[in-house]
């Protein structure tokens, strides 16, 4: 779950990471009011899209009236498909240099990794490898001052800035660990005459650990259908085609889409309903798919932890209750395969054992429809 900048900065503040003084406002008048308290300000759209600055979501204002106008513009602006409900009005910081600092997960090292660069700002992706220091942290040791000194040596940093880093990095690491962050990024990290200040905040919380953080608001920037899918714990992505696809497992779902394309079709979605022995999950997945009004339905089940009979049962049940009249291509093999096939046969549904056949049949059904 990505956090809005102002929520990320709330966390920073809680972990003693300096942030500019600011106010979260919900209309242009409040923005003017905030500016009258703060003086020269920066007005920032609170949306989750990247490249917000380049797209015009950030303005400077040197008077309350300018702040009001800037906020008005931003509240009416669409950024990456979203409009802002909130705007952050912050005291303008005199930046001497823009640095970059992040903590994220290094999957290969199986460790948190610190990323630090003296070349922060808009184009940090283009910083050459030798100017972006990476330091994987052993979680049994934690981020110790000596590691920061070593990072500073590699950066050529000494003196006061090194002291600032020695204070700041362990705090960001603590936030990263305790708040179950996947990413805690400060770009730019502003070097000012008062020391380092987090001029931006990109914090992503691990969805799987959200239950440990009931105090965090739940942020949803998704389509209604995707929200519904998330609620049902289904991995669902809308695509452009006509063949609705449902499978169990991300890899095989991807492979099914690949094969649909291979046979000349176009998938309407990616839907991995995961697995499990529960009849509810596939039923809900089917109901969700039917709501999208696809022209053909392709179901690809290779039972493992998922049992074929349970999926067949779910299909038969939804078919009866909702009435499925669109063409269906059903593939069913694996755990409890014969029980599943029997259920489908009773419901008058023919099923395939081969994925190839099921997919090419689905494309044929589309062409025929």
């Amino acid at each position: 779950m990505k956090l809005y900048e102002y929520l990320g900065k709330d966390l920073f503040d809680r972990y003693d990471i300096p942030v500019p003084e600011g106010r979260v406002v919900e209309n242009p008048e409040q923005a003017a009011e905030a500016a009258s308290e703060l003086g020269e300000v920066v007005v920032k759209s609170q949306v989750l899209t990247g490249k917000r600055g380049k797209a015009g979501g950030i303005s400077f204002a040197s008077s309350p009236e300018e702040a009001r106008l800037a906020a008005e513009k931003i509240f009416n602006m669409e950024l990456g498909g979203f409009t802002a409900d909130k705007v952050l009005v912050e005291k303008k910081v005199q930046i001497e240099q823009e640095l970059y600092l992040a903590l994220t997960v290094d999957g290969t090292a199986q460790r948190p990794v610190v990323l630090v660069s003296l070349d922060g700002g808009m184009d940090v992706e283009d910083v050459p490898e030798d100017r972006m220091i990476r330091w994987p942290v052993d979680v049994t040791v934690g981020l110790q001052p000596f590691m920061v000194r070593e990072i500073c040596r590699k950066l050529g940093v000494e003196g006061n800035l090194q002291k600032e880093f020695i204070k700041l990095l362990p705090r960001l690491y603590k936030l990263f660990r305790e708040m179950d962050a996947e990413l805690a990024e400060i770009n730019p990290l502003a070097l000012t005459s008062q020391g380092l200040i987090a001029a931006d905040a990109k914090v992503t919380i691990d969805d799987d650990a959200l239950y440990r953080h009931p105090q965090l608001p739940r942020i949803k920037e998704k389509t209604a259908l995707e929200l519904k899918a998330e609620e049902l714990d289904l991995a669902y992505v809308e695509l452009e085609g006509d063949i609705a696809v449902m499978a169990n497992g991300a890899g095989i779902t991807m492979a099914t889409l690949d094969m649909v394309q291979h046979y000349g079709g176009a998938p309407a979605n990616f839907l991995d309903f995961g697995g499990g022995a529960d009849v509810e999950k596939p039923s809900q997945a089917l109901e969700l798919l039917l709501g999208t009004n696809p022209r053909v339905l392709l179901i690809n089940i290779f039972g493992g932890i998922t049992r074929c009979d349970v999926v067949a049962e779910a299909f038969a049940r939804v078919r009866e209750s909702k009435g499925i009249d669109l063409p269906v291509s059903f593939r069913l093999v694996g755990t409890n395969e014969s029980e599943g096939r029997t259920i489908l046969e009773k419901a008058g549904i023919k099923s395939f054992t081969s994925m190839d056949e099921a997919v090419s049949h689905a494309v044929k059904l589309l062409d025929a429809s």
Binding site: G107, Q110, R111, A235, A247, I252, M254, G275, I305, D356
Partner: protein, 291 residues
């Protein structure tokens, strides 16, 4: 033959009394796995499929020494159960659950490194030494002995491919599911290294997908250190960039980890990449026949 496990591997099932735990205990026993005990706190003294259940891993290994443990434990409690297994001396840990928090996964891996233990998963189907021992949740019937080692990031897609191999009369030595999470214990190169050493494995099938850089790292390893032929299948050719497709790893980020970059790296390393799952058996036969 096999890597990591064999017919002598003594296996514990943590979370044995739950729905999944008891079902797959039965399945694993049916496959021939040597399950020596189950652990379910508060359920000690019960038994599942004739296997005794203990309250703690320590109690279980006091009664019956064990080499491996498979976890059917809800994600919020998986870290504790994994650390318990490691503390009690388990050297092969198979983490079935999905949705284990990332920070927990990193804590588990740190302790596994300290204890020189192998972690398979999390969010994996497990691993199987074909015909000898299955520590996982894959359907029994497709895993028959043969000359091919299989390693995969995804579960069902791996069954699909092993299923095709089986239909074509090609069996497997060991099949390993790495798991779909961002932090997992084994990576392609760990398993490839074992297959290279395993005298019974004559060819390897690698089942990858878009996102991350594991396939590119595998390609580099294959090029530098493998003598055995490798066949690959990669999912995600049709995936639109930037869309999240279930697995946390399967995100196309910043142009790296694309379908094209992976195919290129593998091809360059001498790996034959199948364009459909169904085409894997023919490619495998090409490199194993007559050898």
């Amino acid at each position: 033959m096999s890597i990591y496990i064999n017919d002598k591997t003594r296996v514990l099932v943590q979370g044995m009394t739950g729905n999944q735990g008891s079902f797959h205990t039965g399945q694993m026993l049916a496959y021939g796995t040597r399950i020596v005990g189950g652990v379910s706190p508060g359920k000690g003294g019960q038994s599942v499929e004739g296997v005794p259940v203990y309250n703690t891993v320590f109690e279980a290994v006091e009664k019956e020494p064990a080499d491996a443990s498979i976890l059917f434990i809800p994600a919020p409690f998986a870290k504790d159960a994994a650390l318990e297994a490691l503390a009690a001396g388990i050297k092969i840990l198979v983490l079935i659950p999905e949705h284990i928090p990332l920070q927990d996964a990193m804590d588990i891996m740190a302790q596994a490194r300290q204890n020189n233990a192998v972690v398979v998963g999390p969010n994996t189907f497990g691993l199987v030494s074909s015909g000898a021992s299955k520590i996982g949740i894959m359907p029994n019937q497709y895993f028959i002995p043969g000359p091919v080692g299989v390693v995969s990031r995804s579960g069902t897609l791996c069954y699909e491919i092993v299923g095709h191999l089986t239909e074509n009369g090609v069996g497997t030595t060991t099949v390993v599911g790495l798991g779909g999470d961002r932090v997992v214990g084994l990576h392609f190169i760990d398993v490839l290294e074992e297959f290279e050493k395993d005298s019974d494995t004559r060819a390897v099938v690698l089942v990858g997908e878009i996102g991350g850089s594991a396939e590119e790292e595998a390609a580099a390893f294959i090029k530098s250190s493998m003598s055995k032929p490798v066949i690959a299948y990669l999912a995600g050719k049709s995936a639109p960039p930037g869309k999240r497709m279930g697995h946390a790893g399967a995100i196309i980020e910043r142009g790296r980890g694309t379908f094209e970059s992976k195919v290129e790296a593998l091809t360059e390393a001498g790996v034959k990449v199948a364009d459909l799952p169904t085409k894997v058996p023919a490619l495998v036969k090409e490199v194993t026949d007559g050898k």
